[in-house]
Subunit: 458 residues, 2 copies
C-alpha cells in the first residue's frame, strides 16, 4: 500500500486539472468502485476527468512520484473486476476524452479518443458507408475494449480488438507518451508493441488515442437460424462449415435451456433445442451460393429447421432469441446477478466442452444456459447467482473451476474474451506456466513501482 | 565481445549434441555468414544442428553461462542481414528440426518444427484440402518467417505471419522453455506474448515449435490483369476497391520499368504501363460478381485493358510478368546484386509515395523498377547495385534514406515486411521515438546479457 497524504495529492491534481474535474464526491467514488461483474466493489480515493493526453501524462507523473495506484476507467462494463481499485488511489475516467478525431475513409482507419463508445463510432461511420466490427454486447468505450482485448459475435470473420488496433498512443507509468504503431497497415519494424498493449488491462499504460481499422458496410447481409437435435450435431456442423472456408460473419450457438428462458420471457415459441444463429456478409450472388452450401452441410448434421432472411427487420427478428438471451435470464431471476464463464477451446474439442459444461451446469443446480461464439471455440455458461448466498458463490466458483480445468486440459484458455482482471488470476499459472514469469518481467520493466492497475492479471 | 575459450565451448557443445552436429567446417561457417542481402558477411565460431527443444535449451544455457552470442538460422533467406553473426558465437541451424508434428484439420491448425519450409507444409496440407497462405517469395522456413514477421502477396486477404501464429514454443535466453499461446483461436488471458515474439528477429528467443492457422483451399480462384495509363489511376483504383469491401486475395502493382525488363528478358509483349495483378478467392457465383464489380471500378480509373482467367495454367500465365519481375532484373544485370526498399504507407499516401519513388529511382541512375503489395500500402523499389562500387552503394543508401524519410513523414513505416535486421536499425529512433526505449526495456528484461542475435534491431 502507498503511503501518501491523499488530500495533498488531491490538491496537486486540482492544480493540474480544473477543480471540477477532480472529484471525491461519494457518489462519484461509488460509481467508480465497481464494474458489471459480481466482484466486491472497492472505492478509489479520487476520480479525475482529463481532457487531453498532456493531463494524463501529468497525472501519471504525479502518481509515479508518490507511488499512488492508478486505474484507467472507460464506462465500467468490464466483467472481471478490471476497473475496481482494490488499492484505492486515482481512477482516471476517460469520459471527457470522447472525440472522434479523424475518419480517414480512404485508409479505412479512424483516430479516436479512448472514451468514444462503439455505437458512437458506428453512428459517425455510417455516413461514410463504413462500420467498426467488434461488438462485445455492451456499449463499451473503445479504450476499454482495447485494454481488455474485447471481441464478440463478429470475431469469426473480422477478428478481435487486437486485430483492429493499428496504433495506440499510450501514457506509460512514468508519464512518457509513446505510439505503439503507425498508419501503415503492415509493418515489421521493431517489436509489436500494439499487440502487447492491447489486452494489458491497464497494467502497462493508459491509452489516450487509438487508431482503428474500419470496414465497408457489406453490400448484402443474410441471417439464418438452424435447429438441431443434439449439441454435437450443431457444433460439428460449424466445424464442417469452417473447413469449407465459407466466410460466415457470425455464428452463435444457443442451448435449449436458454431458448426456453427466452420463450418464457418473450412469450415466443422457438423450438427448445440446440440452435445456431448465422450471419453472412458479401455480395448477393455469392451469399446465395454460400447459404445454399451451408444448408447442405447443416442437413448432413440432421438440422431440423433452417430459416434465412435478408430484410433488415426480419434478420433482427430471426436473431431475437440470441439477442434477448441474457435479458431473459436477468428478468426471470430479478434477485440474482448474471455471471458468465468464458473458456475457449480448439474447435475440435468444442462439442465435448459444451457437453461437459451442460452437465456441470445441471449438477450445480444454478439456473442458467449456454451460449457460444462457436466459430471461435469460445462459449459462456451463463448463470444467475445470489451474491448474498455464500453457498451460491461457492457453487458458481466450483462450476467455473471445473470448466476452466476442462478447457486447459484440452489446449484451451480460461478466458476467450472477458480478460483476466481479478477473477481469472488464479488460473494464470496453470494456463501460462513459465510464460507467466515473462509477463511479470515485462510488467516490472515498464511499471517498476507497480502503480498501474495493481492486483490485476498477476 | 564475449571472452571465452571457444574450443572449450565447442567441446561442451559436442557433449550436448552428437559430434557431427557441431561444426567448425569452413564451408559450413561460410554458409552461415550471410543471408540473401547485400550486407557484409561475418563468420560464426561454430554452427550447431539440434534435433529437439531440449538440445536447444541446453545450448542456450551454455551460451548464457559463458555470455556467447547466439544466432538462430532457418534457411538464410532474410533480406536485412538478420542471421549474420556480427559478434561470432554460436549459430543454431534448425534444418534438422523440420518435422510437421500434427495436422489438426478440424481445428484448421498445424504444429510444425521451425525448420519446416512453407512449400513443404503446403505439400503436406494439400491432401487435406488445406493451405498455408503466407508467401514471401522465398521458400523460407516457418521459424524464420515467424521470427521476421514475414508476409507477401496474400496478406491483403489472409494477413501476415503475426496473424497466423497461434502459439510458439520458445527457448528463452536462459534456456527456459515457454509457450506463448494455446490452441484456442481466441484468448484474452494475460499479455499477448505471441504477438511480441513474432517479428522479434531472434533477439528474444529461439522458436522450437510453431502452431499455425491454415485455411481451406478456396472453391474457386480467378486471376486478372489490368493495365493503366498512370500510377495514380492504378493505385486509386485499388483504394476504391478496398472501400467496397470486395475480398481481393492478392493485388500487386508492377511499374512500366519492370514490365519492360520482363518483356526484354522473356521476349514477351506486355503493355509497358503501370499494371495491377489480381487474384480472387471464393465461390463461383460470388467471384463472378466481384470481378464484374472490380472491372466497373477499374474502368472509372481509365483502365485500358482487363483480362481475367480461372483455369490454373492460364492464371499462372496471366501473372507471369509479376512472378518473373525479380528474375528479369537479376538476369539482365548479372554482375550486380538485387536490393530492395520496403516502406509501407497509409493507402491514401500510396500514389504519392510511388510517384516520389519513381523520381528518386530515376535520379539515382541505378537500374530498377517498382513493385508493390498495394492492398497493404507496401511497395519495393527494386534496384540492381554493384556491391564492389562504393559510389553505387552510396547511391542505393541515399535512395533508401529518401524513400524512408518520405514514408515516415506520411505516417508510414521503414519496413512493411522485410524486418529491421542490421539494415534498418538507423531508422528505428526516427520511426518509434520514445517507444524504442520500451522495446529496449523488454529486450533487457528478457535477455539481460544481450546474447540473442546481438546488433540486430537495436
Amino acid at each position: 500500500m502507498y503511503q501518501v497524504n491523499i488530500s495533498q495529492t488531491v490538491n496537486e491534481l486540482k492544480e493540474l486539472l480544473d477543480e471540477e474535474r477532480v472529484s471525491q464526491n461519494p457518489t462519484v467514488l461509488e460509481q467508480h468502485s465497481k464494474d458489471e461483474s459480481y466482484h466486491t466493489p472497492s472505492l478509489p480515493d479520487v476520480v479525475v476527468f482529463p481532457k487531453k493526453k498532456e493531463e494524463v501524462a501529468a497525472i501519471m507523473k504525479l502518481a509515479n512520484q508518490y507511488e499512488i495506484p492508478v486505474v484507467p476507467f472507460g464506462i465500467g462494463s468490464s466483467l472481471e473486476g478490471h476497473v475496481i481499485p482494490y488499492e484505492g488511489g486515482i481512477t482516471i475516467d476517460f469520459t471527457l476524452m470522447n472525440e472522434i478525431l479523424e475518419i480517414r475513409e480512404n485508409d479505412l482507419l479512424v483516430k479516436v479518443q479512448p472514451g468514444v463508445t462503439r455505437t458512437q463510432l458506428n453512428k459517425a461511420l455510417k455516413q461514410y458507408g463504413l462500420f467498426f466490427p467488434v461488438d462485445p454486447g455492451a456499449d463499451a468505450t473503445l479504450g476499454g475494449m482495447a485494454a481488455t482485448g474485447a471481441s464478440g459475435t463478429t470475431s469469426v470473420k473480422y477478428g478481435t480488438m487486437r486485430d483492429q488496433v493499428q496504433d495506440l498512443e499510450v501514457v506509460l507509468a512514468d508519464g512518457t507518451i509513446i505510439h505503439t504503431g503507425s498508419l501503415a497497415v503492415k509493418s515489421s519494424s521493431g517489436y509489436h508493441l500494439t499487440g502487447l498493449f492491447v489486452g494489458s488491462e491497464g497494467t502497462l499504460g493508459c491509452f489516450t488515442e487509438l487508431t482503428l481499422k474500419v470496414y465497408g458496410i457489406p453490400e448484402y447481409m443474410m441471417a439464418a437460424r438452424a435447429v438441431f437435435t443434439t449439441v454435437e450435431d450443431a457444433v460439428n456442423a460449424v466445424v464442417a462449415i469452417r473447413q469449407t472456408g465459407i466466410p460466415v460473419a457470425r455464428v452463435e450457438f444457443v442451448d435449449a435451456h436458454s431458448i426456453r428462458a427466452v420463450n418464457h420471457f418473450e412469450q415466443t415459441d422457438y423450438p427448445e433445442k440446440p440452435t445456431l444463429f448465422f450471419e453472412f456478409h458479401g455480395n448477393e450472388a455469392g451469399l446465395k451460393e454460400d447459404v445454399k452450401f451451408t444448408r447442405e452441410i447443416l442437413e448432413a448434421f440432421q438440422c431440423q429447421e433452417f430459416i434465412h432472411e435478408t430484410d433488415n427487420a426480419k434478420r433482427n427478428q430471426l436473431w431475437k432469441a440470441r439477442h434477448h438471451m441474457a435479458y431473459a435470464f436477468i428478468h426471470t431471476y430479478r434477485n440474482r446477478k448474471f455471471m458468465s464463464t468464458d473458456v475457449a477451446v480448439p474447435i475440435s474439442e468444442l462439442a465435448g466442452a459444451i457437453g461437459f459444461g451442460t452437465n456441470v451446469l445441471q449438477d450445480s443446480g444454478i439456473p442458467g444456459g449456454i451460449v457460444g461464439h462457436v466459430g471461435d471455440g469460445n462459449f459462456h455458461i451463463c448463470i444467475m447467482i445470489d451474491v448474498n448466498d455464500p453457498d451460491d458463490i461457492a457453487r458458481a466458483n466450483k462450476l467455473n473451476q471445473e470448466i476452466v480445468t476442462y478447457a486447459l486440459s484440452r489446449g484451451g484458455t480460461c478466458t476467450g474474451e472477458h480478460g483476466v482482471g481479478i477473477g481469472k488470476k488464479k488460473y494464470q499459472e496453470k494456463e501460462h506456466g513459465a510464460a507467466l514469469a515473462v509477463m511479470r518481467k515485462i510488467k516490472e520493466a515498464l511499471d517498476p513501482k507497480g502503480i498501474l492497475n495493481p492486483k490485476k492479471i498477476f
